[in-house]
Symmetry: C2
Subunit: 348 residues, 2 copies
């Protein structure tokens, strides 16, 4: 038997992709929007099932770096702190900033355990090719987070070796932080290995939304944690180019909304956000892992939370499906169920 | 309201992706495996709902090219015929073969209406970059099919202009062929525009599986159509490198099984196949459009149909999930429902 933890009720369809007059594909999933200390404002689908948050919670993983004083000891700027919370595109500015962070922390490049991959920013990848170069671990989208973890390891005098393993003091400190923020236990059986080799602990969307609500409201946190969360969110929302990169969804949202929205996606269709003005936290996961589904759901919910700044979701992402010649051939649209959740947000 | 044509019963989960000890993402969908003139052998999920077959039926779209005598008049080789049924990776051999086909048919490159995109074969894309070149319409994965359509247009003296439009004689002839093969009506409201700008008509999986069963058994077809189908399948299964390309799933399957399996995928999670020895046709669609889901379902079903040649699905595709450092972090596995369908195939 497979270790399936899926409840009997399928999650609702959240996003429909139409081509011509028919729905061609659709994405099911679950969404929770919560306020600290209150029942969820939006609970669509199964928000109790543990999901791997992946890169969507890099800001939570960076809290110990900040709280411990390690980031200040290394004299990290906002640009650099944003990169510590980033899934960047491997553009030159990202790579150079990671290099500067390594220098500040006195850490060698080969200490990074994240592995190599080509920049996701096509032009940057092509530039590397044209120069006859190959990607290094600095180009890995998680390299900033890894420098943060190594900086924390140095500060804690915990040793750099094996900093990516679940039992290293750095990962244990991150685990406790995630448990405190979500109010959920990170049991060993909930631990898997992420794309960049660090642990990812499965958590219900309910707990993840609560963690981001606490960040949004800076409530129920120790003064150190509240200060750390505030500083990291300020860094990310003021340097959105560092958190993702050119042309990407989250960067665009934070450019539009500034300090009003901290947003971050993760692999396999996860999306999290903190909205300080409303004191709301959001966490969602697309069942099938599609990024296009996660970003479309996030775009619709964010547009509805900021009616004065954003006319509609199409302002935040391209909801048209075009073909190789640029013809309009279809569209990405919210389902009825998601529409109802949006209507409910409108009345907040 | 959105034009949703989804039945109330969700399609079953077909594929689970596990990470650590939990299911991280999963793909729902529907599968039909049929024999001409008999009830489906496998009917999993909604096989009556019309789905866009996209590139999975390029072999059906190429039948008129063959039957009309246009392909023989142009003196197309098996290599070239395989490319007329292909979604190729834009490798040099593909581009040069398309160029040769254009020359044989006396058609200029700028007649191609498919649009441009970078080769999906990374190394070929990087070679273009290194040479300071940009992709042309020859690199479009559908360029071989388009040369086939233009060759048919020339042969029919129907004019090249607008050959991609639903009302052009070339597309009308293709539409009638698809209707005859599937036994389903291609009503105007079922017509949408494909990625390469030609029509794609929505058809139920039941009809698509029947069309491929007819191809597999070469039964219930006129002598001309049977000969055309046989020739095209022979071309594809003997030149699988031309149908997709280096490292791709369908190319690998046809290399392993030769004339015993003609397989072809399409965008948005569609997969079709004809198995001549068993006289079976297969058509499947993943609800969310994921290629990884479609190929995994196909791999499991194909492995089960050829127990003597293929040990298991992992022989046909990588079912391990590895991270950037190459660590094993999860796996792609069939659901219980798909497992039951496989068990039922085993008893055939």
């Amino acid at each position: 038997m497979h270790p399936v933890l899926i409840s009997n009720m399928p999650n609702p369809v959240l996003i429909n992709l139409t081509r011509g007059s028919l729905v061609e594909s659709f994405h099911r999933g679950a969404v929770c929007i919560a306020r600290a200390g209150a029942a969820p404002v939006v609970a669509l689908g199964d928000i109790e099932r543990p999901i791997y948050p992946r890169s969507a919670i890099k800001v939570l993983q960076a809290l110990p770096l900040m709280e411990s004083g390690a980031a200040d000891a290394a004299d990290f700027t906002d640009t650099e702190l944003a990169l510590a919370c980033a899934s960047h595109s491997g553009e030159e500015v990202h790579v150079e900033t990671v290099r500067a962070m390594l220098a500040k922390s006195g850490i060698a490049e080969d200490a990074l355990a994240c592995g190599n991959h080509w920049p996701t920013h096509d032009e940057s990848a092509r530039t590397l090719v044209a120069m006859g170069q190959k990607p290094t671990s600095l180009h890995n989208n998680c390299s900033g987070k890894h420098v943060g973890m190594l900086t924390l390891a140095t500060h804690l005098e915990a040793g750099l070796e094996g900093y990516e393993h679940p039992d290293h003091p750095v990962q244990q400190r991150i685990r406790r932080t995630i448990e405190e923020m979500t109010g959920e236990a990170a049991a060993p059986r909930m631990c898997a290995i992420d794309g960049c080799s660090v642990p990812t602990w499965a958590m219900p969307l309910k707990g993840l939304a609560l963690a981001f609500a606490r960040l949004a409201a800076l409530s129920g946190l120790s003064p150190e944690r509240a200060a750390a969360g505030k500083r990291l969110m300020r860094a990310c929302t003021s340097e959105p180019q560092m958190v993702e990169g050119t042309g990407r969804f989250g960067t665009g949202v934070m450019r539009r909304l500034g300090a009003s929205a901290f947003v971050k996606g993760g692999a396999e269709g996860v999306y999290c956000a903190a909205f300080p003005e409303q004191g709301l936290g959001m966490a969602l996961k697309i069942d099938d892992g599609a990024k296009r589904g996660a970003e479309a759901v996030a775009a619709h919910l964010i547009a509805s939370l900021f009616p004065d700044q954003i006319e509609n979701a199409a302002d935040l992402m391209n909801l048209k499906i075009t073909n190789w010649r640029g013809l309009d051939v279809g569209k990405i649209a919210p389902s009825e169920e998601l529409g109802e959740a949006i209507a409910c947000l409108d009345t907040l």
